[in-house]
Amino acid sequence: MTLMVPVLRDITEANSLLADSLRNTFRRHSVLVLDIIASPGAGKTTLLERTVAALGSELRLRVIEGDPTTSLDAERIVAAGAPAVQINTGAGCHLEAAMIQAALDQMDITGADVVIIENVGNLMCPTGWDLGEDCKVVVASLPEGDDKPLKYPMAFAAAQAAVINKVDLEPYIPARAARLRHNALAINPDLAVFEVSCLTGQGLAAWFDWIRAQLERKRAARQA
């Protein structure tokens, strides 16, 4: 004789609950948290190096680096001037809230202004796991093709900002920054889009301003 047992629970609920608790921790510390999503090689770490170098004197930045293996990225961030913790996911294709919790055990965020999480290079899986962040930021580099938003709509729909990197290569390749921007906005009209080159520094000022504005917004909302 069999008996039906109703359950009705989400399999990833443990992650969602932990992400909510992280969000509370971040709110208590008044710290802005960004989750950077991109394919491998889009330029996430270089964008963070540039950001740390530019904003390091006015904002206290902390970085959590997710990679399958090696601590090369965290070393780059530390060299650029910000405390960083490396998470190695092994075969894991995305970061989960428990990994962020573990990173916070190794890194004090007291007094920090912004925590930037660099997710594992992957445009699909990271969109499915809440890390307690305020904003997801998708980085797409122009040489990857200007049709990225059409192939990976979830990443662009879930993000608040899109950084189009390597626009200095536009004269040498068929992809067009304007088309990438158009495709990204077709998926998410509210996206803040930045066309940048982390190599030449072109366009990065607007991205830095966006981070400042997000931090201000979060702090204003907290005081309200």
């Binding site: 008996l3 399999i11 075969a91 499915g128």
Partner: protein
Amino acid sequence: MHEMSVTQGVLNMALEHAQGRRITDIYLQVGRLSPVVPTSVELFFDYLSKGTLAEGARLHFEIAPIEMTCTECGRQADLSEWADLAPQLVMVKAFERGCACGSKRLKVTGGVAFGLVSLNVEDDPRDA
């Protein structure tokens, strides 16, 4: 590749709710946009459930459709004409078309979850 840990999550949750009884069937709901591939879950389940009360249980997947809602008028988009397309394409087409009210601001409001709906367990009458 994350189906192994997701499947372990299914197994743990099912065993918790079975409360020591043998599980014969597990009913799961998978959103078309959820980052989970049912055939991989089945594969890992066979492996992970060995030696547990869920060994041999049948997995049943109910596929939940994508839901997109206009953030301006609250209307749910009718996506039925694209039911046969890949989920990413459905999203792109829906965003392209926008809402009947003229807005292009749509939000994915369903079809992303992966949930355990119910279980069938063997009810041993000797326990009654």
